[in-house]
C-alpha cells in the first residue's frame, strides 16, 4: 500500500539549504588600478590576510611570480595552489589550475591578473572565463585588473599611450563585479617606485619609462580609471531605481562594417550605452556583394562582431541591397532612438552620403557621426573591390566573339547603308550582352572601351585610324562609353542580387522545411533524429546530439556517409558537451573554451533551461560564422520543438495522474459503500448469537454463523482484489511478469472457485499445445476468479460455465462463458469502469462493478484487452487477451 518511509522534514530542509548554497553564485571583488605597480596585488593579499585571520577559507589560486618581494611576504600563511605546468612549443608555462581549484572549493580564491590569456591547451582561452566558472561554482573570487585591459576603454588607452594592449576583459565582468576596490597612488610616487626598480627589473624599467610610464600618460590613465570607477558608483546608486524603466527609455544602435575602424564606433557606443544605461545593439548589413569580401575584411567583420558581443551588444545581421534603407527599417521596427555611424569620406557617384541618407530616412532618430581616421584607406579598398579582377579564358573568348560579331554586323549595316547611328546601338547591345554572360564588371568595362575604339577605328572618318575629323564625335564617344559602363554595372548588380535572393530563399526554405517537419514530429528521439538528419545534410558534418551530457546516456550520433565519427562518443568529447550544457555557452573547436575538442558544441537552450547540446565534427575544418549563425537558427527551432515535447509530456503525465486520482476516488467511494453491507451483517449476526446465547435454537444459530462466514469470505475477496490494485498502481512498470503456462493459471483459478462454490458446474477447455506467455500470474488468476465468480452469480439452474484459452498468432485469449441472464444493455458501456449495476440496488452492486473494473486495470497493465458481450443463445461471454511478446513457446 502506502510507503511507510515518510521523508524527514529536517532532511528536506537540509537538502534545500544545500541546493541553495550550491546554486548561489560566488562574489567577485576586483582590485582596480590605472597601471602596473600601483599596489593591486599588495592590497588583495593584505585583505586576504585579514580574512584568513578571521578564520575564512582563503586559497591563493594564482599570484604572478614577478611580484615584488614585500608583496610576496604577504602570502605567508595562505595556502597556495600549485600552478599547472603546460608545455607549449617546448616552453614550460605555469598556469592557474582551474580544475584543482574547483575540486578544492575554497570559500575565497585569489586569482591575479584577470586579463591574462591562458596558454594554448588550457580549457578556457582567457582567465576571466576561468573566473566565471569559479563564480558559477559558488566560490568567491578576488582578482586584479588595470584600466587598459577593460574592453571599452581599450582604444582610448591605446590612443593615449600609443601602445596597443591585446589582453582585454569584457566590460560586463567589471560591471557585474560585486565589489570594486580602486587602488590609487600619485603618478609621481609611481614613477619613484619605477626608479627604484620596484615594479619592473631595472633593464625593463628603463624601456617602460620611456614608452608607457611617462608622467603625462600616467595622469591620463589615472583620470580614466577614476572616471570608470566613478561611473560604476553612480550606476550602483541608480540601477535600483532605473532598472525597470531602462528598456523602454531608449535604445542605441551601432552600424558595424567590415572595416577595422568600426571597432572604435563599437567601443564608443558601448561607453555611451553604459553612461546612459541603455541597451544597445550592433547591426551588420550583409550586403549583396558579401561573397566578394576579401579574407582580411571577413576577419575584420568577424572581430568587430565579436567585440560588440563581448561588450554586451545584441548582434543583429540584416541583409539588403541598400544598407541605409535596411538599417532605417530595422531602427523603426525595434524602437531605436540613437544610431552611431562612422563618417564616410568618399562620395560616390550620384549618391548621397550614407549618413545623409540615414538622416533623411529617419528624421526622428538621433544620429551620431564619428570621424573615421582610417576611412580613406578602407574606402579605397572598398571601392577597389567593386571591380572584380579575374580573368577567365571563356569569358574573354565570349567577349571577343561578341565584339567581333558586333563589328561584323555593323559592317553589314554599313554595306546596306542603314544609318550611322545604329552602329552605336549595336555596340551598346553587345556590351549589354557581354555583361550578362560574363562574371564581374571587368569584361563589361573593357568591352565598353573596346567598343568605343572599334567604333572609332572602323566606322568614323577617317576609317582605320583612331582619329576623328568631325568635332562632335568625342561627345558621342563619351556618351557611348558612359552608357556602356552603366549598362554593364546595372546588369552585374541585377545578377548578384538574383544570386543573393536565391541563397536567402534556399536558407529560408530549409528553415521552413525543418520547422514544418518538427511541428509534425512527436517524441524526443524523433525530434533529435530529424535535427541530426538536417544538420548533416546542410553542413556535411557528422553530428552528435545529447539530451543530458552530464548523465549516463549516450548521445545520438549521425555520421556523414563514409565517415567514422566514433571519436564523438569519447569521454573527453562528452565532457566538453557537458560543460556546454552546464554553462549554456558554445564550446569546443573554433571557440574560446576547450578549443582542443574535435567538435563544435552549441547548447540547445529554451527559457534559460538547457535541453540538450548539439555537436558538429570539426575534423575537416572549423565552422564559419555564417554556418554558426545558421546552426543557431536551426538549434532555436530544435529548442522550441524539444520544449514543446517536454511540456506536452508533462501535461500528459498530469492528465494521467489526475485520471488515476479520479479513478482511485471512485474506487474508494464504491468500496466504502460496499464494505458497509457485509460488516453490518457480521455485526448483527454475531451480536444476535452473543446476546441470545441460550434462547436461539441450534438451527438458527448455525444459519447466523454461516452468514458471518459468507460475509467475511466476501470481505476477504474484496480485500484481495484491492491488493491486486495496489500491485499495479504504479502502472505497468512494476509488474513482475514471468513466463507462465496458461493452463496452470486457469486450473488454480478454477480450483479456488470450486472451493468457494462446490456445486458450480465449470468446464475447462485448453488446447493440447502448451501456451506459455509472460504475465503476473497472481493478477491474471485474480481476473479469472472475478470473471468466474461473476458468471456463477449470474448463472441460472446451475447451467455449465465454460472457461477457455485460445491461442492466436500474437496473443492468447481467455474466455468465461455462462448461460445466465446476460448483461443489461444499459450496463454494457460502463461494465468495466466500476459504475455498472450501481443503480440496481445493493445486491447487484456487490463485487460486480469493482471486480470488473479491477480486471480491466490488471489487463490494461498487461497491455491486453478485455471485453464482454451477450451470447446469441442467452448468457454472456467475458474475455480478455494478453499479448505473447516475449518467450515463444518451446513446442
Amino acid at each position: 500500500m502506502q510507503d511507510d518511509r515518510r521523508p524527514d522534514p529536517n532532511e528536506l530542509l537540509n537538502e534545500l539549504k544545500k541546493s541553495e548554497t550550491d546554486s548561489a553564485r560566488g562574489k567577485l571583488k576586483i582590485f582596480f588600478g590605472y597601471a602596473a605597480g600601483v599596489g593591486k596585488t599588495y592590497a588583495m593579499l593584505d585583505e586576504a590576510q585579514e580574512l584568513r585571520k578571521n578564520g575564512a577559507d582563503v586559497l591563493a589560486g594564482y599570484i604572478e611570480p614577478h611580484v615584488r618581494p614585500e608583496t610576496l611576504h604577504l602570502l605567508d600563511g595562505i595556502p597556495v595552489l600549485p600552478p599547472k605546468i603546460i608545455t607549449y612549443k617546448n616552453i614550460q608555462l605555469k598556469e592557474f589550475d582551474l580544475d584543482a581549484a574547483l575540486r578544492k572549493k575554497p570559500a575565497i580564491i585569489l586569482v591575479d591578473e584577470l586579463a591574462h590569456t591562458n596558454a594554448a591547451g588550457s580549457r578556457n582561452k582567457k582567465r576571466y572565463q576561468d573566473v566565471e566558472e569559479l563564480l558559477a561554482a559558488g566560490i568567491d573570487v578576488y582578482t586584479t585588473i588595470n584600466v587598459q585591459h577593460i574592453e571599452s576603454l581599450n582604444n582610448i588607452v591605446g590612443d593615449i599611450t600609443k601602445i596597443a594592449v591585446n589582453e582585454t576583459v569584457p566590460d560586463y565582468i567589471f560591471d557585474h563585479a560585486d565589489k570594486i576596490k580602486t587602488i590609487d597612488v600619485e603618478p609621481d610616487e609611481l614613477l619613484r617606485r619605477f626608479g627604484e626598480g620596484k615594479v619592473y627589473r631595472p633593464d625593463r624599467a628603463a624601456a617602460a619609462m620611456n614608452n608607457f610610464f611617462t608622467k603625462e600618460n600616467l595622469r591620463l590613465l589615472r583620470e580614466i580609471a577614476m572616471r570608470k570607477a566613478a561611473d560604476r558608483i553612480s550606476h550602483d546608486n541608480q540601477s535600483g531605481r532605473q532598472a525597470s524603466e531602462k528598456s523602454s527609455m531608449s535604445q542605441l544602435l551601432v552600424c558595424v562594417s567590415s572595416s577595422p575602424t568600426s571597432a572604435k564606433l563599437i567601443r564608443w557606443a558601448a561607453r555611451m550605452a553604459e553612461a546612459f544605461y541603455v541597451p544597445w545593439a550592433a547591426v551588420y548589413v550583409e550586403d549583396i556583394d558579401q561573397d566578394d569580401l576579401s579574407e582580411e575584411q571577413k576577419k575584420w567583420k568577424h572581430s568587430n562582431i565579436q567585440l560588440a558581443e563581448r561588450l554586451g551588444a545584441e548582434i543583429v545581421t540584416l541583409s539588403g541591397l541598400d544598407v541605409a534603407a535596411a538599417i532605417a527599417e530595422y531602427a523603426k521596427l525595434s524602437g531605436i532612438t540613437n544610431i552611431v555611424v562612422g563618417k564616410s569620406r568618399t562620395k560616390r557617384w550620384l549618391k548621397p552620403y550614407f549618413e545623409d541618407r540615414l538622416i533623411a530616412l529617419l528624421p526622428n532618430i538621433e544620429i551620431h557621426i564619428l570621424p573615421d581616421s582610417q576611412a580613406k584607406n578602407s574606402r579605397r579598398e572598398n571601392g577597389g573591390r567593386r571591380v572584380k579582377l579575374g580573368f577567365s579564358t571563356a569569358d574573354t573568348f565570349k567577349s571577343l566573339a561578341m565584339l567581333v560579331l558586333a563589328t561584323g554586323f555593323s559592317f553589314l549595316l554599313k554595306y546596306f547603308n542603314i544609318g550611322d547611328q545604329n552602329y552605336i546601338m549595336v555596340y551598346i547591345l553587345a556590351v549589354l550582352v557581354i555583361s550578362r554572360i560574363t562574371t564581374g564588371h571587368l569584361y563589361g568595362i573593357l568591352s565598353s572601351v573596346i567598343s568605343v575604339l572599334a567604333f572609332n577605328y572602323f566606322f568614323i572618318d577617317p576609317y582605320y585610324s583612331f582619329s576623328a575629323y568631325t568635332p562632335g564625335y568625342p561627345v558621342t564617344f563619351l556618351i557611348m562609353f558612359l552608357a556602356a559602363i552603366i549598362t554593364s554595372t546595372l546588369t552585374t548588380r541585377v545578377k548578384t542580387q538574383a544570386k543573393l535572393a536565391v541563397r536567402r530563399e534556399q536558407r529560408t526554405e530549409r528553415l521552413y522545411e525543418i520547422n514544418r517537419k518538427l511541428l509534425a514530429t512527436r517524441g524526443e528521439q524523433n525530434i533529435i533524429d530529424l535535427i541530426n538528419e538536417y544538420v548533416v545534410k546542410i553542413f556535411q558534418r557528422s553530428v552528435i546530439f545529447y539530451t543530458d551530457p552530464a548523465g549516463q546516456s549516450r548521445g545520438t550520433l549521425l555520421a556523414v556517409e563514409g565517415e567514422k565519427a566514433d571519436f564523438l562518443f569519447k569521454d573527453d568529447e562528452k565532457a566538453v558537451a557537458g560543460w556546454c550544457f552546464l554553462n549554456q555557452k558554445q564550446a569546443g573547436a573554433g571557440t574560446d573554451t576547450l578549443m582542443g575538442a574535435g567538435a563544435f558544441y552549441m547548447p540547445v537552450v529554451s527559457q534559460g533551461k538547457s535541453l540538450g547540446v548539439i555537436g558538429l565534427s570539426c575534423e575537416h575544418g572549423k565552422l564559419s560564422t555564417n554556418s554558426k549563425f545558421f546552426l543557431q537558427l536551426i538549434v532555436a527551432q530544435a529548442a522550441m520543438a524539444l520544449e514543446r515535447q517536454v511540456l506536452s509530456d508533462a501535461q500528459r503525465k498530469a492528465m494521467v495522474a489526475s485520471e488515476k486520482e479520479k479513478m482511485r476516488g471512485n474506487l474508494l467511494r464504491a468500496i466504502s459503500h460496499d464494505l458497509r453491507t457485509p460488516l453490518t451483517g457480521i455485526l448483527g449476526a454475531s451480536s444476535a448469537i452473543l446476546e441470545n446465547a441460550g434462547a436461539l435454537p441450534a438451527e438458527e444459530k448455525r444459519k447466523l454463523l454461516n452468514n458471518i462466514k459468507d460475509d467475511s469470505g466476501w470481505l476477504i475477496r474484496m480485500v484481495e482484489n484491492l491488493l491486486s490494485v495496489t500491485r499495479i498502481s504504479d502502472g505497468g512498470a512494476s509488474l513482475s511478469k514471468t513466463s507462465e503456462a496458461a493452463e496452470e493459471i486457469i486450473s488454480e483459478a478454477v480450483s479456488r472457485i470450486r472451493q468457494r462454490f462446490p456445486d458450480a458446474n465449470i468446464q475447462v477447455r485448453v488446447p493440447d499445445e502448451v501456451i506459455i506467455l509472460p504475465m503476473d500470474g497472481i493478477l491474471i488468476e485474480q481476473v479469472l476468479i472475478n470473471l468466474m465468480e461473476n458468471a456463477v452469480k449470474h448463472n441460472k439452474n446451475n447451467a455449465p460455465i465454460t472457461v477457455r484459452a485460445l491461442k492466436k498468432s500474437e496473443s492468447v485469449r481467455f474466455e468465461v462463458e455462462d448461460y445466465g441472464s446476460g448483461i443489461p444493455a444499459e450496463d454494457l458501456p460502463h461494465l468495466f469502469d466500476g459504475l455498472a449495476g450501481r443503480k440496481n440496488g445493493p445486491d447487484s452492486s456487490r463485487g460486480f462493478g469493482i471486480g470488473l473494473s479491477i480486471c480491466k486495470s490488471i489487463i490494461d497493465a498487461h497491455s491486453g484487452e478485455i471485453s464482454a458481450e451477450n451470447n446469441k443463445n442467452g448468457g454472456a461471454t467475458f474475455g480478455f487477451s494478453l499479448p505473447v511478446t516475449a518467450a515463444p513457446s518451446d513446442k
Partner: protein
C-alpha cells in the same frame, strides 16, 4: 504417543486464539508467542514438534527468525503469509521452511498442512527410501523405473521421469521453481520455460484434464506440489 506440541508465532491475538482452539479440538497441544524474540526463546525451551510462523512480526522479519531457527533445529516450520507475497514465500521455502499457508485459510487446509509436515519430519527421521509411490491411480515404481496409471504403463522422457520422482519424493510439500530447476538441471541453469513445458507434458500424460489437475498442483508464483491424498472430483 504424546500429543504433538505446536508453537504458534503470531502477533494478532484473535488469529492465534482461533488457531489454538482449533488445534486443541483436533488433538494437538499448542503454545503461543507474540514476537520473534519470544518465539526463538520458546522454541528453545519447549522444543515444539512444529512451528506455525507468521512472517509479519512486530520486532523482526519472520525470515530472520526462520534463519535463526534453522541454525539449530530442523523441526518442521509452516510459514503463514498473505496472498500476493509470493516472493516472501519462495524465500522462506528456500531458507528451509517446510511449507506455507496463505492467509486467510480454512481449518481443514491448516490441519492438512500440519499433518503432512509432521509425517515428513517423522519419515526423514526413519531415513527409509520407499521402493514405490502411489497416489490415486498413479503409481511410480522407483526400482523398476516404471510409471503406471490405472495399471497401464505411461512413457516419460528422462527429464519428465526425474521431475515426477522429485515431486513424489516430496509429495504434499511445495517445491519452489528454483529448487526443482536446481535439482533437475543443476545450479546456474535458467530453465523456467523448460520446467513449465515439461510439467505441462507430464500433466497431459497423467491428468484426465490438464486444466483441472489432481496429481500435480500449481502454486502460482511459488512452485509445484504433488498431491499426497487423492481428492477426486
Amino acid at each position: 504417543m504424546n500429543k504433538p506440541l505446536i508453537l504458534i508465532v503470531e502477533d494478532e491475538g484473535t488469529i492465534s486464539h482461533f488457531m489454538a482452539s482449533m488445534l486443541a479440538s483436533n488433538g494437538y497441544r499448542s503454545v503461543k508467542a507474540e514476537s520473534g524474540k519470544e518465539a526463538l526463546a520458546m522454541a528453545a525451551s519447549y522444543m515444539p514438534d512444529l512451528l506455525l510462523l507468521d512472517l509479519g512480526l512486530p520486532d523482526m522479519d519472520g525470515i530472520e527468525a526462520l534463519k535463526a531457527l534453522r541454525l539449530w533445529t530442523d523441526k518442521p516450520v509452516i510459514v503463514v503469509s498473505a496472498r500476493g507475497h509470493e516472493r516472501e514465500k519462495v524465500e522462506a521455502l528456500d531458507l528451509g521452511a517446510d511449507d506455507y499457508i496463505t492467509k486467510p485459510f480454512g481449518t481443514s487446509e491448516l490441519l492438512a498442512r500440519i499433518r503432512t509436515a509432521l509425517r515428513h519430519s517423522q519419515a526423514t527421521g526413519a531415513k527409509e527410501a520407499p521402493g514405490a509411490f502411489a497416489v490415486g491411480d498413479l503409481r511410480i515404481d522407483l526400482e523398476k523405473r516404471v510409471v503406471s496409471l490405472s495399471g497401464r504403463e505411461v512413457h516419460f522422457t528422462p527429464i519428465e521421469y526425474r521431475l515426477l520422482v522429485l515431486l513424489s519424493r516430496h509429495a504434499g510439500k511445495v517445491l519452489t521453481h528454483d529448487f526443482i530447476i536446481r535439482e533437475i538441471w543443476g545450479p546456474y541453469a535458467n530453465e523456467s520455460q523448460a520446467l513449465r513445458v515439461n510439467m505441462a507434458n507430464i500433466r497431459r500424460k497423467i491428468e484426465a484434464n490438464p486444466a483441472e489437475p489432481r496429481y500435480i498442483l500449481t502454486e502460482i508464483g511459488v512452485g509445484y506440489r504433488m498431491a499426497e491424498e487423492y481428492t477426486g472430483c
